[in-house]
């Protein structure tokens, strides 16, 4: 089975909403570093954080996060 990775459109959504990393971090109750690492796909967020981020942008979770390589899995 190929390795499945988590991709995201968090940065695009954040910039579109006119938020800085720190402002978004404050809204979801995590550190700026956490937002930074999620955006860079270094850190895979928990379901709770993913839902919280989706709620801030008023989008479903699937609009922010998606699987890379899921077709081959």
């Amino acid at each position: 089975m190929n390795e499945v990775k988590l991709g995201n459109r968090l940065k695009e959504a954040r910039v579109e909403a006119g938020l800085t990393q720190a402002e978004l971090a404050l809204q979801v109750g995590v550190s700026r570093k956490t937002i930074n690492t999620v955006e860079n796909a270094v850190f895979v967020p928990s379901t709770t954080l993913a839902l919280a981020l989706a709620k801030v942008f008023g989008q479903p979770v699937e609009a922010l996060f998606f699987l890379i390589g899921a077709d081959q899995a």
Binding site: V30, S31, R32, K33, T37
Partner: protein
């Protein structure tokens, strides 16, 4: 009150609390030196007057430090929202410097600890040796507590104890555990051949375990910040 004023006030309170904490630690050193005089084995003792002065002075400094810390309350506006986040991010940077310096301080202490272990060598234990060993143990335990994220203020937790921090901490402590387990295995093997050397190496293994965890934590924190 404006945000800048609240931040400035919070920083002044933080500084006062930090000075008080340093006073408490210095007082503990003095009291520790005094208490080590009661351990048996060493006929050389502080004169009673000096002992009373050390214990009394140290106790007084601890008391003043604790009272100062208790009365120095951070303004409530600085314990939530944006200001709390700014303060916690600042604290995170300082903690990261501390993680980098932990191995250095343990390394400096190691020389004294090994010397104390060698000089005792199963014979009469001098007060200074007890003091040095106790100080080393205190530092080790304190460093492990800091690395484990113990004692964080509630307002700082969203930044210093969020899910990324916990994952980074877990990875760093995992490395420390591995280093310590391998070191202990080595100590068991070395005890078959040279017990004196094995005893000397115990603090080295303990320090290596803590130092590897702190350096890993420092490195992972830096990498997460994209610095």
């Amino acid at each position: 009150m404006a945000e800048d004023e609240i931040l400035a006030l919070a920083r002044r309170v933080d500084l006062r609390r930090k000075v008080a904490l340093m006073a408490v630690l210095l007082g503990m050193v003095a009291v520790g030196a005094g208490l080590s005089q009661f351990s048996p084995g060493d006929p050389e003792r502080f004169p009673p007057r000096v002992l009373e002065a050390v214990l009394g002075g140290g106790g007084l400094v601890i008391l003043i430090g604790v009272v100062t810390m208790l009365v120095s309350r951070t303004p409530i506006e600085a314990r939530s929202g944006r200001i709390a986040m700014i303060r916690a991010e600042g604290m995170r940077a300082k903690r990261n410097v501390a993680f980098m310096l932990m191995p250095l301080s343990l390394g400096l202490m190691l020389m004294g600890v090994i010397q104390a272990l060698n000089r005792a060598n199963g014979g009469n234990v001098e007060h200074i040796q007890i003091f040095v060993i106790c100080a080393f143990i205190f530092f080790l335990v304190t460093f492990v507590a800091i690395l484990s994220g113990r004692g964080l203020d509630r307002w700082a937790r969203p930044v210093l104890d969020d899910e990324l921090s916990r994952q980074i901490r877990g990875r760093a402590l995992g490395l420390g555990y591995l280093v310590m387990a391998l070191g202990l295995a080595g100590l068991v093997a070395s005890s078959l051949f040279n017990q004196t050397l094995t005893i000397d190496l115990i603090p080295v293994v303990a320090a290596l375990g803590v130092a590897s965890a702190s350096l890993r934590l420092f490195w992972l924190e830096r990498a997460a910040g994209g610095e």
